[in-house]
Structure formats: C-alpha cells, structure tokens
Amino acid sequence: MAFPGSAQGRDAAMPRRIRIVDSTLRDGHQSPGLAIPLGARLSLAKALEAAGVDRVEAGFPGMGECETEAVRAIKGVLVKAEVSAWNRLNLADVSASISAGVDLVHICFPLSERQMGAKLGMGFARAASLLGDAVGLSRDAGIPCSVGLEDVSRSDEGRIRKAMGLLASLGVEEVRLADTVGVLAPLSVRWLVGLFAGEGFKVGFHAHNDLGLACANSLVAALSGAGLVDTTLGGIGERAGNAPLAGFLKLASHAPGLSFGVSLEAAQEIERGFLPLLGREDFLMGLSRSRASDITDMDTSEAGLWKKAL
C-alpha cells in the first residue's frame, strides 16, 4: 500500500494527533426530520465523550432559550470533552452561547461573495467589523473562539487571503474551513488547508458529502495539516450529509502518520447503538413514499424511537 514518499512512511515514527469534533448534535441534528429530545442528547454526548471524541459541538443557542438550555445541560454532563456552540455572525447569538457556558464559541463567517452579499446583505468591511465585535464579546467573557469560513470552497483566492489577514489581525488562532455545499475536490482541499496551516493557524475541516468526497477530503485535510476534523454519526447532515465518524476513522486507519482519540471500534459501536434511535432511515423512507406530493404522512409506526428508548 505504501507509495514512495507517502505520509505513512514518512511520519510513522511520530503520529500526529488529530482531534475529532463531533457535530452530530449541531449540523447533524438540524438535518430534516430529526428532533432529539434532551435526555437523548445528553446520553449521546456522554457516549461521544466516553468514545474519546475531543470536542462536542452541542448545538446552536441562537435558536432560543430552549436550545441554550440544552447546550448548557450538555456542558453540564461532560467532564473531559470540550463543548462548543455554533453561532451566526451576530452578538445575540454569541451572548446566548456565552450564557450556555460553553468552552468554545464558534462564529460562522460567511466568506464567499454570494454568502456575504445574499445572506448577510453586507460587504466585507462591515462583516469584518461585526466579526471583530463578536470575537471581542467572546473574549471579554473569557471564552476562546474559533471562526468558521463558511463556503470557503466557493470563495476566490483574494477573498480567502483577505479573510486570513483579518483573522490574524483579530488574534483568532483556530479556523474551520467549511466546504458548505460539498464541492471541494482533494487537490483544492490540500491547497486550502496548506495555505492556512502554513500561516500558523490551527485548522479544522468541515466536509459535506454532496459529491461523495466527505471522508476522502477530510483525510486529505488531516494529511495536509488540519488538526481538527468534523464528523457526525453515520454522516447525518444536510443534503447528502457530512463525514461519518466511523467511515472517516476507517479510512484514516490506513494512514499511520495520524492518530486519534477515538478508536474505530468505539466509533462503530456508538453508531450501531445510536443511529437506529435517530429514526433517520424511517424519515428517508417516509420521504420516498411521499415523493409525489411533499413531505406528508410518513409511516410513523417506527419513528420517534427516541421516546420509546427513553
């Protein structure tokens, strides 16, 4: 299997530790049809921690008090794993995350011209100023923050470098590169991660599976210098999903130059235990039956298993 000059041959003596950021309770949870009750979320968070996941992205407190409470509760049951929360680029969201008591505030910075213009309705300078305020708010509360470059995959190089300069000027050390619509191919991943890692950023990679490349791209990111890789159980997530925890670890197990806090066996076990309870397959089957109209009366006899399980 080894190629001349391959990573595993070169780094086998000193594997580089990659941190797993599990986003099942945030990006996974917001995929259509999922509604995980709080008790189940706590069980899942504890299981992820027990499996060795380094960071649990617990949710999106900006959704409202109910979600803030849920994130706070998740933080309350975890001892070892870091707890982070996702935030839009606004101070209200960041305040909600701070009040949830998370270890890390993650702020989403829509980077592509399309995202910034159509979604935020503002230019780079205004968005940069908002980011500065949001980072400052988190910092003043004594909570470190990371910044996610949303849709970085559809941003031009000039914009990417501009964002890199902005993050450096704000003293942001950790950046998450988000392939928001899953269109990156491996060569671009390598270039992008290398660019940020080369400037000394702690790089995380957030893949989507729209072209079936989430696992492979995540591995390429890790091999190219990313220190954090985002996953979800079974790859649940928007559209075609994210990088699946066990799937990614299985692939990465062939790269001895990398090490993880989660074993492949633990990841497979947790997916076997929890995925059936999510009712995801039932939801998809329900969609299949209702293709002709809209999401309509799914056969709910097997859905809502969380409730039964609890």
């Binding site: 190629f3 001349p4 259509p32 509604a35 399309r114 269109v183 299949s288 999401i295």
Partner: protein
C-alpha cells in the same frame, strides 16, 4: 440517435437474460461501443453495463440503448457495451492508496504519459475521490460506473464534480441522472439511499431555519447545483429546527392562512411537538396544529374552510396541486447556481 420514449419501471417485463455477445443485439450502434472522443474535454468512461452484465435481468437491449442515450444527454461520451471488457488493454489500474501519499506528484507524472484510461481501485473506499482528484489535476479518461457499481468511481458524482468545478458544465439532460438512477436500480435490484450524493431523492429536503432563510434569499447558498439538474426537488420539512419563514412557507404550500401572531405561536408548538414525537411533523400533524391554534385565535369561518381544504390536501385528496418544493421557490428559481 433519437431517445426512446419507452418507460422503464420496476413493473416492466424484464425479458430474457442476456446470452449474446459483442456484435449482436447488444452492440450500441457503434462497432466498439465508444462515442466520439472530444479532444481536451474530461472524459468519463462508463462501464456500468459490463459491470452488471450478465447478472442483471433488467439489462435488456432496449434498456442498454436507453442507458446510452441518457448518458449522451449529459455529456458522457464514452459508454462501454454490456459485453465489453471493463478495462481496455492500455488501461492504468490501481493506485488505491495514492490519496495517502503525494498524489499530486504521482498524478502529474502520470498525466504526462497521457494514459487513455484510468481505473482507480477502491480498496480504501477512495475510488471516486481519486478519480475526482485526477480530473482536477487535468487528467482525462476515467473509468466509472453509476452508483460506484463494481467498486468503481461513481459516475454521477464525477459528472457533477465536473459541473460544479466548471470544467464540463451540465447543459441539458435535466433529469437524466434521475432516470439513470432508476435504470441502475433495475439492474442492481437495490433502491438508492435517500441521502445518496447526487441521486438521493431526499438530498434537497431542508428544515433548519438558517438553511430555509438562506434558500429564500438565494437558492444556491445551500445547494451545490439546482435540484432540477439532477431530477431532484426541494422538500420542506417542518420540525424542531424550523423558523417562522419555514412555517410560513409550509402554510402557503398547504393553502393555510397565517399571520405573524399565529406563526409565532406555531413556532413554539412545533418545536415542543417535535421534541415530544422525536421527529419532524407530518403534513397532517401540521394542519391539525394549525387548526388548533387558529381556533384559539378565533380566526373565523373562512379560516376554518381553508383549514379543511388543507387537511384534505395533507391526506392526499388534492395531491394534484400539491406544493412543488417551496412555494415561490421552484426548481431553478432565483439566481443561477455555480
């Protein structure tokens, strides 16, 4: 060659198992089964038919011809006949672990040799990624098969990778990939997973407020390509993560009246109900909730009539006019995708 209009469904008589060889009914009008090779254009070499031959009962001559026509419609210009060899004699095969090493360097050296066919192995589950990287690096001929059949790179994923990268935009052939999915289901006897990249029927379903708001502003914010391009459609789910915009859209799709107060009340109730059920709401549940909250707000008779109609619709009695994806956000609406 004109497209055949014959439908291909699971109910179609399958015909006799194939026993013929090259040059008989199986040939696809071209002596070697290849189409014109466009110089300089990334070339996907489809070998789905030989992968399934001769075990697939649905792989009859008519379907093979249909397969070829559908592929031609989306710019796949080289299709191997059922009895062709999957790999030609000058095919470069393997490289399963290249992604773990210096794949840009390996590819650079190989591309200089201009191999006519590259067949990436799937021992590590990376065949599609390797092929995508090869095309990204400027390589050309890649052997692939629909759905990654036979452990080969997935044709539909590579085709859309070429589209999104702008190297080979998909123009025309809207819906061909969905038809190819149905044909390949016939060949394989397996249903495609709902969240399968490109061809899954649920990949354009959306629920979260952030995503629905984004899609309303510009559909391409959260979609890599328009759903209609691959024969898909947007579906609006209502549940725990729905914002008021989602609820408004759902109401409009079901013909239910709404106002700010009602939507606010519904948002709270929808979240509570979803958490209680452990899933999103069905249309019937949504309509029922709407009726309950509307009655509380004493919205009057007209409101109730609309509610009854919506209830019928949710039960499928008015399926003919069912919402097609998002109201006001039909396939291809808004600005064009990248």
């Amino acid at each position: 060659m004109p497209l055949q209009e014959t439908a291909f469904t699971r109910e179609e008589p399958l015909g006799d198992p194939p026993t013929v060889t090259q040059g008989s009914d199986w040939s696809l009008d071209e002596p070697d089964g290849d189409f014109e090779d466009y110089q300089g254009v990334p070339l996907l070499i489809d070998v789905t038919l030989p992968v399934y031959h001769p075990k697939a009962p649905g792989l009859v001559a008519r379907n093979a011809q249909r397969w070829r026509d559908l592929l031609l419609g989306i710019g796949v210009t080289k299709v191997k006949t059922p009895s062709s060899n999957i790999r030609s004699t000058d095919c470069v095969a393997g490289l399963d672990s290249a992604l773990l090493g210096d794949f840009p360097g390996i590819f650079r050296d190989l591309i200089a040799l201009e191999p006519p066919e590259m067949l990436f192995g799937n021992r590590y589950g990376c065949a599609t990624a390797l092929a995508a990287a090869w095309l990204e690096a400027g390589g050309r001929g890649v052997v692939c098969a629909m759905g990654g059949a036979g452990g080969l790179p997935a044709l539909e994923e590579l085709r859309m990778a070429l589209h999104t990268s702008g190297r080979l935009p998909l123009s025309g052939g809207e819906g061909n990939l969905a038809k190819l999915r149905e044909l390949s289901e016939l060949f394989s006897g397996e249903r495609t997973k709902g969240n399968k990249p490109v061809t899954g029927f649920a990949i354009f379903a959306v629920e979260s407020g952030v995503h629905v708001d984004g899609l309303l502003k510009d559909p391409c914010l959260y979609e890599p390509y328009p759903p209609n391009l691959v024969g898909g459609r947007r579906l609006l789910s209502v549940g725990l993560h729905s914002g008021r915009n989602s609820l408004r859209l759902k109401c409009e799709g079901l013909g239910l009246p709404h106002d700010g107060e009602l939507l606010k009340a519904m948002a709270t109730e929808v979240r509570a109900l979803s958490l209680g059920l452990g899933r999103g709401l069905t249309d019937t549940e949504f309509v029922s909730l709407h009726g309950r909250l509307s009655a509380k707000g004493d919205k009057g008779k007209a409101h109730n009539t609309a509610h009854d109609k919506a209830h019928d619709k949710a039960h499928g009695k008015a399926a003919a006019r069912a919402a097609d994806g998002f109201p006001g956000l039909g396939p291809g609406a808004g600005r064009s995708h990248a």
